[in-house]
Symmetry: C2
Subunit: 205 residues, 2 copies
């Protein structure tokens, strides 16, 4: 296909295409030429919508971080015991990852080579620190175990949660990498919370 | 520095350089020219040691997967209740990740574009399946909770364990990405096992 499409993009739909290409080729490895080819419109048509690829990155990352930070203002994150708030935030974080998968995937793959990438890393760090503060409060309440370093627990919790971007796919696709087949994900957010907070051991074992 | 070093490499030390470059640039993005520059020796000197970059990848991935599969033949992985065996394998997997960090990092970043990469993915899948089988046996024994899909539990367990390659660094370096500072890692393998199997909740909460 060499015929250019008529430009029927909105900033929103163009962003979808850009995020897909960024995730496939890496942000560094993506040129305006790649974006133009993927969108099927000319580079000048893209420049009609955005100043360049860094603006697309900024918009995409904003969508991911806005979704994550909004969680912290929800009633479930503000009221109740710290342990309930942190479980709520964990559950909702998984839900946002599932709903905004390509955007959060991009956020988690950002390296920090440009100003926008460094800003993205900073926002991600801020979110992690807000969750770490909740974990700390829950330890102080005696609800979470005190024998694990908070920063380490935060890393491992996000390690588990963020691994979703590697294997979770909205529509089951056979053999989509990793473990054979696609796991049953009836209640993925609830399962992550159960495993992270209660562990894999059967009760009383 | 444009002066080429005298070639004092062994296949082993050349592999260290190659793995570092693969992890920095991605395997796809690494050319023999990049390897030659990083090693400070000519391309023909590299060809004296190996047939090409795919051989270097195969050797590097073998080192990672050999380390992982050896765990499964250790007495702790073969004797005792399934739950103890799977906890042993989890602990040892973390230890191998820590000891062979650049090699396992490369293994976990492989995409599957070449025959060697697909073989690496297959080996990784095999290892995951061996651990999944142990988890299944521990559920059958009643030692692990039965309300979580085994494949999902396997993914989340490895999500937590494999996240180490993103943030664990042998020598603490200030501000090495992710959460501020470096978490205390006195007993990282033990901590991962405690969190994964017992969860973050304090006992009885």
């Amino acid at each position: 296909m060499t015929t250019a499409k008529r430009d029927t993009y909105t900033p929103e739909t163009l962003l979808n295409v850009a995020v897909r290409v960024f995730n496939e080729r890496g942000y560094d490895g993506t040129s305006m030429e790649h974006l133009s080819r993927a969108a099927g419109i000319s580079k000048s048509s893209i420049y009609h919508h955005v100043a360049g690829k860094e603006e697309l990155l900024r918009r995409a990352v904003s969508r991911a971080t806005d979704g994550l930070f909004r969680i912290l203002d929800e009633p479930g994150a503000l009221r109740g015991r710290a342990v309930e708030r942190v479980e709520y935030v964990t559950r909702r974080t998984v839900e946002v990852l599932m709903a905004e998968l390509p955007y959060v995937t991009l956020l988690l793959r950002v390296r920090g080579n440009t100003k926008t990438e460094r800003w993205a890393l900073e926002r991600r760090r801020e979110f992690d620190q807000r969750v770490a503060a909740l974990l700390k409060a829950a330890v102080a309440d005696g609800d979470l175990r005190a024998d694990v370093d908070i920063r380490l627990a935060t890393r491992l919790l996000f390690g588990m949660v963020n691994s979703l971007v590697e294997w979770y796919r909205p529509q089951p696709e056979a053999g989509a990498g990793g473990v054979e087949g696609v796991p049953a994900v009836d209640d993925l957010p609830g399962t992550v919370v159960r495993l992270a907070f209660e562990g894999m051991r059967a009760a009383g074992r």
